[in-house]
């Protein structure tokens, strides 16, 4: 094998992929990005805003801001109400079908949080199945590369004469596919059984069984105490994984044991939302200005051991 060709091809591959990324990436409208940045920074808390005010704060002509906000409104990011414009809550992770169901079951309530519990995502049994498939196929690959215990003769007979290393690569590919399929099937199951929504008036609603219609209900007034619990597996997932998750515990009146919502996405935001419902006021950002400032400053606000510690 000519190593020079190999190096050249490797570099060319990288350059082509980088060029492809550069060419196909979405060109952001700078005005739209500025407006969106401003709205998420200052109006994420259900406060209303006017086009005039945003125009004044950003020092951008009113017509330009209006155009951007109309575009955001059409996209469903911003909502126009009688009191002005408001940013639609970004903490709704439901599928469109489940979001519609949530709206139907809450009689058109303002849904401020919607997600699925992900109890299997850090479950050791579930992870071990995936690990077994991946590590098993990888072990077969290593065994064929080094012909451990003369395995190549056996593998070659299974593979009708194909090079055992290639057959092992093929098995690895199939195992990777199976892991992905299992993951997708698990998500279907989760979406059928573990919906959780929070409505401004209807409180917290959750599914308690398969094909349930959000029959688990915690009304605004019955919440006594809320807590977040992030175990070490969830913590690792939050640092290195895709979606931040954590358990949220809710104590209700006349009930000793808390209701535990397991591995919910963005648990701190759900905590803040539930706290606001518990207090009966969605203007929680004013009451918790300090915590929110810390949150905005990239500090974990609601874990006591971290409170006050600067992270950036």
């Amino acid at each position: 094998m000519n190593l020079v060709y190999f190096y050249i091809i490797t570099v060319i591959g990288g350059v082509i992929a980088s060029l492809a990324y550069y060419l196909v990436r979405k060109k952001r409208d700078p005005i739209m990005a500025t407006v969106l940045e401003h709205l998420t920074r200052y109006y994420l808390d259900e406060r209303f805003f006017s086009i005039d005010k945003v125009s004044e704060q950003l020092q951008i002509p009113k017509e330009v801001v209006e155009k951007a906000i109309v575009k955001l409104e059409k996209s469903g990011i911003v909502m126009r109400t009688k009191r002005g414009h408001a940013l639609v809550d970004p903490l709704v992770f439901l599928t469109p079908r489940d979001y519609e169901r949530a709206l139907r079951l809450t009689k058109g309530d303002n849904i401020i949080y919607g997600a699925y519990q992900l109890p299997y995502i850090t479950d050791l049994k579930y992870l071990s199945v995936q690990t077994f498939l991946l590590l098993g196929s990888f072990a077969l690959l290593i065994a064929t590369v080094f012909n451990i215990g003369g395995i190549n003769a056996t593998v070659q007979s299974w593979a009708r004469g194909v090079d055992p290393r290639i057959f092992a690569l093929f098995v690895t590919a199939i195992c990777i596919l199976l892991v992905d399929v299992i993951d997708n099937l698990e998500k279907i199951f989760i979406r059928g059984k573990y919906s959780v929504i929070v409505g401004v008036h209807s409180g917290l609603l959750y599914d308690i069984s398969m094909a349930d219609e959000l029959s688990g209900r915690i009304s605004r007034g019955s919440i006594v105490k809320i807590d977040i619990d992030i175990n070490w597996r969830q913590k690792l997932k939050n640092i290195f994984g895709e979606v931040p998750i954590g358990d949220v515990k809710i104590w209700m009146r006349n009930r000793k044991e808390p209701i535990v919502l397991r591995s919910l996405p963005y648990p701190r935001e759900l905590f803040m939302i539930l706290r606001s419902l518990q207090l009966g006021s969605l203007e929680w950002r004013k009451r918790y200005a300090r915590e929110l400032a810390l949150w905005r400053g990239r500090v974990y606000p609601f874990i006591h051991t971290y409170r006050g510690r600067r992270r950036r």
Binding site: I9, T10, A17, R160, I166, A173, I239, G241, E242, R268
Partner: protein
């Protein structure tokens, strides 16, 4: 939901995610430590070129998206470069070292094609979160084309093994569906 909504919501969630992630300096530190460990392992095990470079690039492609959570133009450009260079080098390496008889009737060729199709797209999904989660038209179109290619490769594999045409078609069809189902973008929550 329109593509624009998906894109914009993605950006909103990126802002929210920041509070859960380690600081950028810590992310960079984790990445550098992982790279040093990878390089040391390759050096200690005395792995020769070109295998050493293939393993190094594969390790980097696996570690980079896990440690670096910052999403901006440069971080995504670097991710694309790592992915492209690994896939190009690895495919060249596989073809050069493993296929001695590159004819259509060779099942090894089709097994390798299927491996590259699976590994290539899964690694791409690993390195590019948007491709893994957003169902935009171009992404769905690319996934469908790849699924057809996968099905065709599976048909050719069974055909090379002299399996009857009907069974080859059935297996190829099932394989293509499985592949399409696995690679179609799916929300992680």
């Amino acid at each position: 939901m329109s593509e624009e909504v998906e894109e914009l919501k993605f950006e909103l969630r990126e802002h929210l995610e920041d509070a859960y992630r380690p600081p950028v300096s810590a992310q960079a530190l984790f990445f550098i430590l992982a790279e040093i460990a990878l390089f040391s392992a390759i050096y200690y095990l005395k792995i020769q070129m070109p295998e050493a470079l293939v393993i190094y690039l594969l390790g980097t492609a696996l570690v980079y998206p896990v440690t670096i959570k910052v999403r901006n133009f440069f971080s995504e450009l670097l991710a694309s470069f790592i992915y492209g260079s690994f896939m190009a080098g690895f495919t060249y390496y596989l073809i050069y070292t493993m296929i001695r008889n590159p004819e259509v009737k060779n099942p090894a060729l089709w097994m390798l094609v299927m491996f590259v199709l699976v590994f290539g797209i899964e690694l791409y999904h690993h390195i590019n979160e948007k491709a893994r989660t957003l169902r935009t038209r171009p992404i769905i179109l690319i996934d469908l084309i790849l699924s057809v290619l996968f099905g065709f490769s599976m048909f050719m594999l069974f055909w090379a093994w002299n399996v009857s045409t009907i069974w080859s078609i059935i297996m190829a069809f099932l394989g293509a569906i499985l592949y399409a189902y696995a690679i179609l973008p799916e929300k992680p929550y």
